[in-house]
Amino acid sequence: MTSVPGDPSQPREVVLEAEDLRVWYGTERGPVRAVDRVSFDVRRGEILGLVGESGCGKSTLGRGLLGLLPDGAARDGALRFEGQDMLSMRPRDQYAMRGARLGMIFQEPLTRLNPLMRVSDHFTETLRAHEQGLSGAEVERRSLEALRVMGIPPTRYRAYPHEFSGGMRQRIMIALTLVLRPAFVVADEPTTALDVLVEAQIVRTLHDLRATYETAMLLITHNLGIVAEACDRVAVMYAGRIVEIGEAREVFARPRHSYTRELLRSTITLSTEGLEFIGGSPPDLSEPPPGCSFHPRCPDAMQICATRAPRARITDAGSRVSCWAADIADGAPVAADLSAEDRSPLTTEEVLVADEA
């Protein structure tokens, strides 16, 4: 299941590249730094998982990439999609790009489908809006092909949304997104509202899709297991930043960042033998803590962590990680400059039991 189509030795081209991207919201309490200086890229046909606790900025990043931000929010940095600079693009060009080249899959499929329109009408409308001059037969062929890939039989082409189960509706939504063959899709918790078995089926389908469509995908989820099963790479987000990013297998097998490790440990799995959890809760992003923003909750926190933010570093396994403890453990050059004082454990105030998200 983890094999990637194509020749793995040949690195595929980068579809989307974010550099030092920021997405902030304006509120009465001042700016909320929901995404703060995030850099990453996604390659053709690759699924990048995005995980982290609630409120760490995952959805904001996903929407920010597509420019789907509420009024009052702002983004800067650099964002290149198929070589074009998205941030300086005119709004109407961005609009034309969404759907056609950039897609989005949401959590609740029913709210996105018009109950009065047949599935076929949804497809016709979508296809005609972006590709003028398609013949009726061509529309039908393309739609049925997309539905077939998602496991919806052709007999249901003219049915109404309410005639489908939740899982089938989500499949239809995905087919609707993919029928335009976008180069990049953001899927924000696409299976959270579904049953466990259906979730597993759809994750499987998403994973297999890459071969057919060569679509790059950012898969946002709470479920680390899903990332391990469906994604090639994973980015771990905390307090608006990507703290670790790398091959999914590598990150889960040998987490370098303390947050990644604690997150994995606190996940209840079939092999859980004792309950572990991270004390405290993610910070208020209008006033993130100084230094490493995880330091108030980090069991490995040192004096340096409270004052200086760790720098991003590429590990031997090719992951990128920002953590002082990882720097020391890996014997990174920056670690050599740290004094004994810097390395001494940080005495944090007792966190309250119920201080949780």
Partner: protein, 440 residues
């Protein structure tokens, strides 16, 4: 339940049927409305001090079972017997008066799935948690305050002053769930029905709430009915597990045995679907197809048969299975096939049940229909559906398809496992012939 435990609650053949509101016209004319069998003959016992997990997909009747234990869902048939304290007489929950039911609710309490919805949005935490005592007239004034503070502290909402005067909207999900638990334990209940208490919480909070529930169990000697769709937390938390599907228990037994050797194909499927973040344990898995069917029209025979990878002759095949089979065939074949076949079977409208058993495809071109069946079968001979088909023949105006007779599997003690596991599946019923029926 272990033999050394006496049951606190005994559920026997419990059924809860809901009458669905039909369309306006149907109601006006007094026509038959559809019913959903949310629970259909469930029997189980909840031993004192144990944690019984109830696991299943949505719509399997888990919440209905939990609500019925508190008398919140009306029993259509069967009984729930509650045996409060050791010396107390057993009482029939299903026959209690409204007043007696309210009394029962000092002993059996509930924790809800959505902590954001379970608290009155316009009541402070202090008032919400103390309300059970007020409602039952058990405490007031300083005594009420003391007990509320004690309960809040017990669930970790301390310093109490910081939380007591807050409204639910000011608390995080985990904190709200703690308040809901505080409200549930404040009257010193015997049994706590926890309906998916962690599934709507952030993953990093789940372990904390589960730990709290474990602590409360050992400190207060609680008995839990733990309802969940997540096998991983059930495995860690429960002593015994009941797997439910469409209103019935399909497998029940000690947790360790269920996980070591899941017998029911549905249990196996659920287990296979648990995603595991550990890359060393990731396996390619076989997942059942499809989704939970409409509970108002459950499949005949074994309700799981349309999705069961191991289904065979006696599992209850019917007309819609053939329709599904053809749809699957077309989803895999090219569009051209579908278009020519649709002319023969008219978008599946032609597939029906024969007057005297079996199925029929009504068409003016019986040979084409038979050929379609041949092709569909050849495309996937291993599909369980064909194990139920004993043969077909063309008639003047269609094709007749014979099916093996179906029967409903009953919950029975599974062979092996020291007789502690019960399962409802023909595969584990020695009286059912296991020879696959050969096709034509």
């Amino acid at each position: 339940m272990r033999p050394d435990q006496d049951p606190v609650i005994e559920v026997e053949d419990l059924a809860v049927h809901y009458r669905l509101q039909g369309g306006a016209l149907a109601r006006l004319l007094g026509l038959e409305t559809r019913t959903v069998k949310a629970l259909d003959g469930v029997s189980l016992q909840l031993g004192r001090g144990e944690v019984l997990g109830v696991v299943g997909e949505s719509g399997s009747g888990k919440s209905t079972l939990g609500r019925a234990m508190l008398g919140l869902a009306p029993a259509t048939a069967g009984s729930i017997r509650y045996r409060g304290h050791d010396d107390a007489e057993a009482q029939l929950v299903s026959a209690m008066s409204p007043r007696a039911l309210r009394g029962l609710r000092t002993d059996v309490q509930m924790v809800f799935q959505d902590p954001g919805a379970a608290l009155n949005p316009s009541m402070t935490i202090e008032r919400a948690v103390g309300d059970p005592l007020v409602v039952h007239g058990l405490a007031s004034g300083a005594e009420l305050r003391r007990r509320v503070h004690e309960a809040l502290e017990r669930v970790g909402l301390s310093p109490v002053e910081r939380f007591a005067s807050k409204l639910p909207a000011d608390l995080s999900g985990g904190q709200k769930q703690r308040a809901v638990i505080a409200r549930a334990i404040i009257m010193g209940p015997q049994v706590l029905v926890a309906d998916e208490p962690i599934s709507m919480l952030d993953m990093s909070v789940r372990a904390k709430i589960l730990q709290l529930m474990l602590d409360l169990k050992s400190d207060l000697g609680l008995t839990y009915l733990y309802i969940t769709h997540d096998l991983a937390s059930a495995k860690y938390f429960c002593d015994r597990i009941a797997i439910m599907y469409l209103g019935r228990v399909v497998e029940i037994g000690p947790t360790a045995e269920i996980f070591a050797a899941p017998r029911h194909p549905y249990t196996q499927a659920l287990l296979a679907a648990v995603p595991d973040p550990d890359p060393t344990r990731m396996l390619p898995r076989d997942l059942p197809r499809g989704e939970v069917p409409d509970a108002a029209e459950p499949p005949s025979g074994c309700a799981f048969h349309p999705r069961c990878p191991a289904a065979f002759a006696p599992c209850g095949w019917e007309a819609r299975d053939l329709r599904d089979q053809l749809e699957r065939y077309w989803a895999g074949s090219g569009l051209a096939d579908y278009e020519s076949d649709a002319r023969v079977v008219g978008d599946l409208g032609a597939v029906g049940t024969h007057r005297d058993g079996g199925l029929r495809i009504s068409t003016r071109d019986p040979d084409a229909a038979a050929a379609l069946l041949d092709r569909a079968r050849a495309a996937d001979v291993t599909d369980p559906f064909w194990r139920g088909v004993t043969g077909w023949r063309t008639e003047s105006d269609g094709v007749r398809i014979d099916l093996a007779p179906g029967q409903e599997p009953r919950l029975r003690v599974a062979p092996g496992g020291e007789g502690r596991v019960e399962v409802a599946c023909h595969l584990h019923d020695p009286s059912v012939s296991h020879a696959d029926t050969p096709g034509p």
